[in-house]
């Protein structure tokens, strides 16, 4: 089966295989038709296929009569802020986020800067499949303009939303790995504004990804070394487009990507108590932290669109997912690694505590993740069989809002289809490593049955 995923996270495929210019042109025309002729912002991350995909996107948008504002290489959250700032009608971010370099994708952003909701993506798909796109005639056809202010504007917004006083006087030393992605143009500048001494690596957007752009302990090797060698207070690892953030503490320990949101939740709730939004497969440390402050946790299906909607609906003080994504609602209701950086560093500077102490004070749990590659046509029947197998298990409760999540008194097992690749993900969490391993065995047995 060929790698192509069309769903709630947009359209995603492999360059040279499924992700062809025709496909991209078609989706861009569908998007232009869906929004009606208007002004659309377009940005991309630093993948080699970016210019090819961007040209196809812009050709499709122009053909439907849209006005194209080309932001060039720019993080997705910067585009999302710029959509509102420039009064645009929507945006397309060309990035496959954390996927390896041969992938690329379109992420669709609507007028308010948020991702299209699953319902809206379905409407877009209907237009795509019908293939009857708006066609602008020569006399109303618009053109493309280049603008480079999206990142400066993002920096202005961040500066206005955080109190930089403490950070500027503390002068934290921060090691940052931008993965040669679009954060290369944002993160070092934001850290400088935060008064940090910046040790940047992989901050050249014209170079290839030095490692998979997925912030997790395995990809933090370089930044760990940098933290130790440079005696930095914090190490940061970015994905390709500025949504996910991985952390390394001052001892050089790479923290699980689940810790990013847990830490952000702890900091946000110290500042103001309010609802916390996360997805069903994120660590239960979030619930334990929230209960310390008497806050509620709202769980959504997996995907940024759901998180953003719930943040707005519940007036949440923090949101995000266990993959390292954090949304700081005072900046925007979308995942934004620069906003997460601001939240963390301002708190570190104010409290004076080392990062390791903050991390050690979090609930200590063990999470294990596995995935099973599976033919796309049998994914849903495999999930159905799993659900049948676990339905009547004693002492559990089953949540079906996204895949199948089985909660035990001392842990949980979550089985779901990936939004972005053809695989089933198995995630378990428990208080101890041995119990987590037991739960993984339990889940794997029932999935394979």
């Amino acid at each position: 089966m060929k790698p192509l995923k069309i769903g709630v996270s947009g359209v995603r495929g492999v360059i040279g295989e499924t992700f062809t210019p025709e496909l991209v042109v078609g989706f861009a025309q569908a998007f232009g038709t869906y929004l009606g002729p208007g002004r659309i912002l377009v940005c991309r991350d630093t993948r080699p296929s970016g210019p090819m995909v961007a040209s196809a996107v812009m050709a499709g948008l122009l053909a439907t009569g849209c006005d194209v504002v080309d932001l060039g290489i720019c993080p997705t959250p910067s585009l999302q802020l710029a959509v509102r700032w420039l009064g645009a009608d929507g945006g397309i971010s060309i990035t496959a986020g954390h996927n390896p370099t041969q992938w690329n994708a379109l992420k669709f952003v609507r007028q308010d800067g948020l991702y299209l909701t699953p319902g809206q993506v379905e409407e877009l798909l209907d237009i795509y499949h019908q293939g009857r796109f708006e066609k602008a005639t020569w006399d109303v056809m618009r053109t493309r303009v280049e603008r480079s202010e999206a990142i400066p504007h993002h920096l202005d917004v961040l500066e206005a939303r955080f109190d930089l006083g403490a950070a500027n006087s503390r002068r934290l030393k921060v090691a940052v790995d931008c993965c040669n992605g679009s954060c290369s143009l944002l993160a070092p500048r934001w850290l400088a504004k935060l008064g940090c001494e910046v040790l940047a690596i992989n901050d050249d957007p014209s170079s290839p990804f030095p490692h998979t752009p997925e912030p997790k302990p395995e990809t933090a090797v370089q930044v760990r070394a940098l933290v130790k060698a440079g005696r930095a207070d914090v190490g940061l690892v970015h994905d390709a487009d500025g949504e996910r953030l991985g952390l390394v503490d001052e001892l050089g320990r790479a923290l699980s990507e689940e810790v990013t949101l847990a830490l952000a939740t702890d900091i946000a709730l110290r500042q103001r108590v309010g609802p916390v939004v996360t997805n069903v497969s994120t660590t239960m440390a979030i619930d334990r932290i929230a209960s310390r402050y008497g806050a509620t946790v709202v769980r959504t299906p997996v995907g940024q669109a759901y998180i953003s909607e719930a943040i707005l609906e519940h007036c949440a003080v923090i949101g995000g997912e266990g993959n390292g994504s954090v949304a700081v609602p005072r900046v925007q209701a979308s995942h934004d690694s620069a906003a997460a950086t601001g939240l963390l560093l301002c708190h570190l500077a104010e409290s004076g505590a080392p990062l390791s102490a903050l991390v050690d004070a979090l609930p200590q749990l063990t999470m294990l993740k596995e995935h099973v590659a599976i033919e796309p046509n049998v994914i849903y029947s495999a999930l159905q069989e799993f659900r049948d197998a676990v339905q009547d298990e004693a002492g559990t409760s089953v949540d079906l809002s996204d895949g199948v999540k089985v909660a035990f008194s001392d842990g949980w097992v979550h089985v779901r289809a990936s939004n972005t690749e053809s695989m089933i993900r198995l995630i378990v969490e428990a208080d101890t490593p041995s119990r987590a391993a037991d739960l993984m065995d339990w889940g794997r047995d029932r999935l394979r049955r």
Binding site: G16, P21, V53, S55, A56, A59, L62, Q102, W138
Partner: protein, 452 residues
Amino acid sequence: MRAILTLKISISGVRGVVGDSLTPDLLTRFSQAFGTYVGSGRVVIGRDTRTSGEMVRQAVVSGLLSAGCRIVDAGVCPTPTVQLLVRKFRAAGGIAITASHNPPEWNALKFVGSDALFLSGARGRELLDIYHQGEYSKARSPRIRNVETMPGALDLHIAAVLEALGPLPAGRRRPKVVLDACNGAGSVVGPRLLEALGADVVGINTTPDGRFPRPAEPTPENLKALCAAVRDHRADIGFAQDMDADRLAIVSEAGEPIGEERTLVLAVEHVLRGTPGPVVANLSTTHALEPVARRYGCAVYRTPVGEANVTEGMHRHRAVIGGEGNGGVIYPRINYARDSLVGMGLILHLLADSGKTVSELVTALPALEIVKIQFPFPSQRLGEVFRKARREYADLPMDLRDGVKVMLPDAWFLLRGSNTEPVLRVVAEATSEEAARGLAEKVRDRVTEWLA
């Protein structure tokens, strides 16, 4: 009559109406087919100023990059600039984004091979086969390339013209020229070239915004503003270009259009005076060429219509100059392409060398007038019309290489379908305009009778 289609896919490229048949999907597929055909090398692209230009350009860029090509983007430039750059950079090919003289709702891709000539005949058919088969080369991610912009493209073209022709002779009065670039690609380079040659330039319609101030075809009825400007400024000559600056028309110092056909005749006169040799023109170009060539003891060879056919003929006969009667001058010392910049240079040198005015030069040419009429016509009935014409004029000399051309005593006419639009063209030439128009109309009426 059936509906007239707005898409022409032929060996001379793909041409259609924006907002209708010329979709980004079609354009990107064609570009992928071209990238596949030329084998992932370097490809030069350029466009005229049409409002759809940026959309088409983006579709072309994505298709070529996907096929693994490296792109050299010359931006807004004349079509001959694309051809010149293909040769200069030894590129694998080029794509000129322009519908030339077609109305503003049209746009097109013209494909250039590695020899800097438009694809024609067998090569055009091979490209079409790849397009229809739909299996295009796809570069994998790290091997996919980027676009290289080429800001000095126009300077290179100007330098090439100056190098071949030299500046106008020093010490004489600088000629005063009015240039009407139709707000097309000529706007960005025409005035600079004329100044570099040593002329004083007044530009009209030189805002490169793709808003057509007049129909793009530089035919006499479309040049009223230019004629008035030549008179107002007491200029020595007026030049008019089409959107992609391959064609050139001339207005005399009296403010009179001399007729597009005479652009090539005057250019031939100037070139043969210095370097006698074979001349090649298509078979719908004025027969005034033959007497002019004979003065210098040179031969004229005729080819089917289309730049590709003419350049092929020029190669075969080692021509020193060639072109088409629509104002397309091809001067191989610079470029095997119809090039209005070269045309302007040759004509200004002719004026300087001869010391004559445009009117005086025109008066000295053979007294022949050409009339062209065209009307919408479904391509599927062309064969029928040609068959009837062959039968009707069977006892006269005929040239059947492109439509039907019939030689009469002191006159000739040609009946052919357009390569670029769904229209039928009738071209007639005789010793007076009246006689030529009478002949063309007679033929048109016969066609209408045959179809009834």
